[in-house]
């Protein structure tokens, strides 16, 4: 039982990280209808920024998080404006290849700036966890991650549901042409979506590296792909879907590590995805829309 609870705690922590990343994936997909494969690498950039601010400038952790969020937000807007915006009328394949290109560009740029040697990331949170919880492997980072994930999820639900920008985003996600004819600046809305997604990626990056402290230029790619899987698992385009998908994926991964095999954990995670998609092609929360002919 204690093994189960320990791994459940691990699963919830990693699941929350996946969920935060998946929220970014799903928002960009929902509005721009594109898979931003560079999203995982924005996470890595966010972690490096936070690392630099705490290690080199020796500023407090909260400043490093804010710096990471600010840099990644700007980076997200920049990537969208330079790489994806010129391809707005191009086919989905061209955009997909560009996204992969941007992903490698970011990894190599990071390698050029910070080198390939892994950095040892110091956790941004440290507070004493009660003895009873510590027995179950519950860490300060874990608690902060889960809380952050819940707050972000609630915030996004409110933002898309209640604010003017949120309504514009939903309108764009349903029908860009009609939204434009209602006076919505679609380019600005897409840009804003990238900004939000990248800000979330920065937070995810800092939390991820606080939990598993090895930081290198490829740090973001595996969590990025898993978060993408989580977004598809939950139904891509759906905000609650990304949240539930992320948490479930984290727990499945942890349980596979605990009871089956650590080395097979990834295969099991992706295997579960294949099974879910065979049964429910649109994911858990997605609506299956038959193609119109």
């Amino acid at each position: 039982m204690s093994v189960f609870l320990q791994y459940l705690a691990n699963g919830l922590t990693m699941g929350s990280v996946y969920a935060i990343i998946a929220l970014g994936y799903t928002m960009v997909y929902g509005i721009a209808k594109m898979l931003n494969f560079a999203h995982g690498d924005v996470i890595m950039i966010g972690a490096y920024i936070s690392f630099c601010v705490t290690s080199y400038l020796e500023l407090p952790a909260i400043v490093s998080v804010l710096a990471a969020v600010a840099v990644c937000t700007a980076l997200g807007i920049l990537i969208e404006g330079l790489a994806y915006k010129p391809l707005r009328q191009a086919g989905p394949l061209a955009v997909l290849i560009t996204a992969i290109g941007v992903s490698y560009f970011l990894q190599n740029a990071a390698q050029l700036i910070w080198g390939a040697t892994p950095k040892n990331f110091t956790s941004i949170v440290s507070f004493p966890v009660p003895e009873g919880l510590r027995a179950y492997n519950v860490s300060a980072v874990g608690i902060v991650t889960v809380v952050a994930c819940l707050v972000i999820m609630a915030g996004l639900m409110w933002f898309t549901g209640r604010t003017k920008m949120g309504k514009a985003m939903r309108a764009c996600s349903e029908d860009k042409a009609a939204a434009q004819l209602m006076g919505i600046n679609v380019n600005r809305t897409i840009s804003m979506t990238f900004a939000i997604g990248s800000a979330l990626a920065a937070i995810a990056g800092v939390l991820l590296c606080s939990y598993s402290p090895v930081l290198q230029p490829t740090t973001g790619s595996m969590p990025g792909i898993k978060a993408f899987t989580a977004a598809v698992f939950g139904g891509i385009g759906s905000i609650p879907g990304a949240f539930v998908g992320g948490i479930l994926l984290g727990i499945i991964e942890a349980m596979a590590q605990a009871y089956i095999s650590t080395s097979l954990a990834n295969s099991i995670v992706f295997g579960v995805l294949i099974v879910v998609l065979l049964v429910k092609p649109a994911g858990l929360f997605g609506k299956y829309v038959p193609e119109k002919v």
Partner: protein, 283 residues
Amino acid sequence: MPKFEFERGKMVPVPSHSIVPERDVNSAPVLEALHLGIDFGGLKAVDDFNLTIGRTEIAGLIGPNGAGKTTVFNLLTKVYAPTRGTILLNGHDTSGKTVHQVNRMGIARTFQNIRLFDTMTVEENVKVGLHNTKAYSTLSGILRTPSYWKREREAHERALELLSLFDMQDLANHQAGSLPYGAQRRLEIVRALATNPSLLLLDEPAAGMNPSETADLMENIVKIRDTFNIAIMLIEHDMNLVMNICEGICVLNFGRVIAKGTAEEIQNNEAVIEAYLGKQKEA
């Protein structure tokens, strides 16, 4: 030189450049399209389209299937960039403007096939239209400042007011996609009106409606014009509707204007009859 338009080797005098009704003479027209044209590859989908619409005029755009009517709407709203010609909206040139910018300049439209935001509620659909009139910033939206609450309440009241125009205020919290067909058509008009246009374009508003619904629609179109004091231009195949409420009618065929004038003039125009029914064989 007298102004003539050449149509397939036959000269058809254009009845008048303008179809502005008399009461509008003193105010500038809401829309002036001058020599508007667009090519799709080698096909001149619309060519030399000239039209003036008065400030509170109800104008009709008719023509056989494929004549280019919806293309004209797409040109006016900048969904297509015109290959040739100029569009003046309230006297301002719209060249180089994007779709959302011309909407803000005062042009709004509905669609031939309904394009509501189906998963959003009726009220939210209207609020998307109100998007630009509500000046609250995203920051105050996030911080929920008092001005956010005030403007949100104003938007809510305005949305209900607009919906009540069509007796739809009770449907405010329903999902737009779940409404019956007629209500969806009406909601599209309300959503377009919410953007505060000076010219409202209706693309086949009576499509799929029964005669009594069409009669209601006719009343409503006139009511909208009288309430908001705006110009309305509509594409419609229901000739009863067009002939009854349109003060000026423009007929398109093969992308060219073949006639302009009042209902009576159009009904007796030979080129129009020919376009719709084909040329009568000489006996």
